[in-house]
């Protein structure tokens, strides 16, 4: 590695050297057969693979599929909905970068590092624009542009989030990588074999999932997303946000051996340069400082939501992650299905636990008990690859959601929901789980005198890719109380 990853916006307009080299290398790698472990398609299939889908999309011919992709080794590895999301993708990025850089070297003699797409950089008014090279029809020499080979949202030229879309740096406010029970920056605990960790981390939902949906096309489906060359610039930025977050004071990265070692039941596996056996196996610790996959970025401040070295003041610490507790204090009565119309569900709360939590909500005195509230959507299932919903609390019946931004609990893009809902997939059909921090919302309700400690009304408003034909179901909506000690 060693090469410094830079903001794509700083590399020069149009066909700058980095992106031109990227295009040339991609073209060469995409001409290799999928059986080659360094080919573009093999690299994409390592994220997600589905023989039927790939044949349908004419990505592979009629020949046999390499065993590597279906035997539980290289193929279909992507980790979502758990604390392995960030480290697995970091190893994946580094492997990809090394292969592309070697190809660039071979073709042009230049050095190459993967650039990042800094779409949330407030200091750059053009930040959300797709770099021109990815949407140009032709290379400078008039050849077809490989960087626009694979489909995206029609006419895409910039990320255009809706008013309520989760497209912000809010995840950076979270202080803990993982708090057992479904809360945290990086995702829920899974020892892999302990399959209850189906929890999406804050950074994974916003902005990661949102960007997948906004780019559209192949990027909405984890089984195809890795084929879009924009995927890599997007993930590079997510990876940079994680690096910045880890280095900010007050942020608690996990030290759990299950995270550091990687999953116990199936190793993360990356191909070597050239693809020879054995591949490279790794765990979380290989992605941290000193590890073989640890990257270097030119900047960790712009568009990351944190300033390395500067103390964040937004939120009080809640003590060591493993000493915090998460417990359910409320739940609705049954599964909810959302099609083309909003659906509401009453969440009954346990009044004593709720009242105690409300009292400890705003604590700031060191040593005092402090609580936060979360809305949890458990075992969400659906057939669309990246459906979107908005979640509201105590929205009056029949009210226009847009008129009540103060009751908006959050916006979810459920990237990979189709894959996580397959009964015989890696998630065993358990779907995905999400937690939304509603502490500030609860405080607002309390101040407005609209907080009833015995119940909440939750309304799910369908967004993109949710319809009566492709509804989503939520097995259970619950309220979680997280408790810690002000630190």
């Amino acid at each position: 590695m060693g090469a410094v990853r830079q903001d794509v916006a700083t590399l020069g307009a149009g066909w700058n050297k980095t992106l031109l080299n990227y295009a040339l290398a991609m073209r060469a790698l995409d001409e290799l057969p999928i059986s080659n472990r360094n080919s573009w398609k093999f690299l994409g299939a390592m994220h997600g693979f589905d023989e039927e889908l790939w044949r349908g999309e004419e990505l592979i011919g009629t020949g046999p599929v390499p065993a590597d992709l279906t035997n539980g080794t290289y193929g279909d590895q992507c980790q979502h909905g758990s604390w392995y999301f960030l480290p697995w993708h970091r190893g994946y990025l580094a492997t990809f970068e090394a292969i592309v850089a070697a190809k660039v070297k071979e073709l042009t003699g230049d050095d190459w590092a993967l650039p990042y797409w800094n779409y949330l950089d407030a200091s750059n008014p053009e930040a959300r624009k797709v770099p021109a090279a990815f949407i140009a029809d032709k290379l400078p020499n008039g050849d077809p542009n490989p960087l626009k080979t694979y489909p995206r949202r029609p006419g895409l030229s910039a990320l255009q989030p809706g008013r309520r879309d989760a497209f912000s740096l809010a995840a950076a406010e979270e202080t803990d990588f993982t708090v057992d029970g479904g809360i945290g920056y990086g995702g829920g605990i899974t020892g892999d074999f302990i399959q209850f960790g189906n929890w999406t981390g804050d950074i994974e939902n916003n902005p990661h999932n949102t960007v997948h949906r906004l780019v559209g096309g192949y990027m909405t489906d984890p089984r195809l997303a890795g084929l879009d060359p924009l995927f890599w610039l997007h993930h590079c930025n997510i990876d940079r946000m994680w690096e910045a977050w880890m280095r900010a004071p007050g942020k608690k990265m996990t030290r759990d051996s299950r995270w550091r070692d990687g999953p116990a039941d199936r190793l993360f596996l990356m191909p070597q340069l050239g693809g020879a056996d054995p591949g490279i196996t790794f765990g979380g610790s290989d992605t941290l400082t000193g590890g073989r996959f640890h990257p270097t970025y030119d900047d960790l401040t712009k568009g990351t939501g944190v300033v390395p070295g500067a103390v964040a003041v937004a939120r009080v610490g809640m003590g060591p992650s493993h000493q915090q507790t998460v417990e359910p204090i409320g739940a609705n009565a049954g599964a909810v299905s959302v099609g083309s119309k909003p659906e509401s569900s009453l969440v009954t709360l346990e009044p004593q636990a709720t009242t105690a939590g409300v009292a400890a909500m705003g604590a700031t005195t060191p040593g005092a008990k402090v609580s936060r509230f979360y809305l949890a959507l458990e075992a969400v299932r659906g057939q669309a690859p990246a459906p979107q919903i908005d979640v509201y609390v105590n929205l009056p019946e029949g009210a226009d959601p847009d008129a009540h931004p103060e009751l908006h609990a959050g916006n979810l893009t459920m990237f990979g929901l189709n894959v996580a809902s397959r009964p015989h997939g890696r998630h065993a059909g358990n779907g995905l789980g999400y937690t939304l921090d509603i502490t500030e919302l609860a405080q607002r309700l309390k101040q407005a005198g609209d907080f009833d400690p015995s119940k909440l009304r939750v309304t799910l408003v369908p967004g993109e890719h949710v319809s009566d034909q492709q509804p989503i179901t939520v097995d259970k909506i619950s309220v979680l109380k997280r408790t810690g000690t002000v630190s």
Binding site: T73, F196, R258, A333, G334, H424, G425, S478
Partner: protein, 261 residues
Amino acid sequence: MPRAATLRSFAHPPWRALFVAAGCGLVLSACGMATATVPLLCRSSAISELTAANAADAVALAIALNPPGPLMAGWALMLLAMMPPLLAAPLMHVWRSSLPQRRQGSLALFLIGYCAVWMAAGPPLIVVAVALHMLGGGSLWVTFSLVIMALVWSACPWQRAMLNRGHRQMRISLFGWAAAGDCVRYGVVHAIWCVASCWPWMLAAVAVQDWHLAAMMAVGAIMLGERLAPPEPPRWRWPALLRAIDPRSARAPLQGLLRHG
């Protein structure tokens, strides 16, 4: 490295408690072995004489001569010795899905549902084991054949499909009777998939003549390994036991061998 990581993971809750429970089951099984195991039941001389003449009568006699109480107690201890580690994931799901003050009760209700199904599965498995021993004259070949059958079962797509279903979590309500009912229901449904995916191994364990304790431990470990393997689309594959012995076999696609050869 994966196996070292697995072992380290066992240091986290709820594994320790579950292994302790299994250990108690093993010790109690060892103590109770004198009275109530299938092998002993087959060895009484009257029965072996009958066996040669009329197998069906022998099976009937063997069952009739042995009071079901101790036999079922032996079966219960066997379950205690082998099943607790298999329940880590569902127990944690029940625990997390319950109000803190109800968690113990929720676990108990789940276990009642789970055990009810396995206890019901006991008599048929025991009868079959006895019958096989009668027919096979108590030879080692019976045990050997049952192990081979269990290995084939572990390689087949149906077993994978049932293991996958066993990984499916169910909604657990938070309050009142709904919560209690959900816990029992989850226990029953989970046990049904558990029985469906591991009955050949349990049959083999029941039928082992000597080294009964060792057999229980070995089969328990095999079933745990199968339970820990990640869900995947059902297809022919090398059984978990062989993959554990030689990890390279995981890479040779059994599916392909079967399809082309």
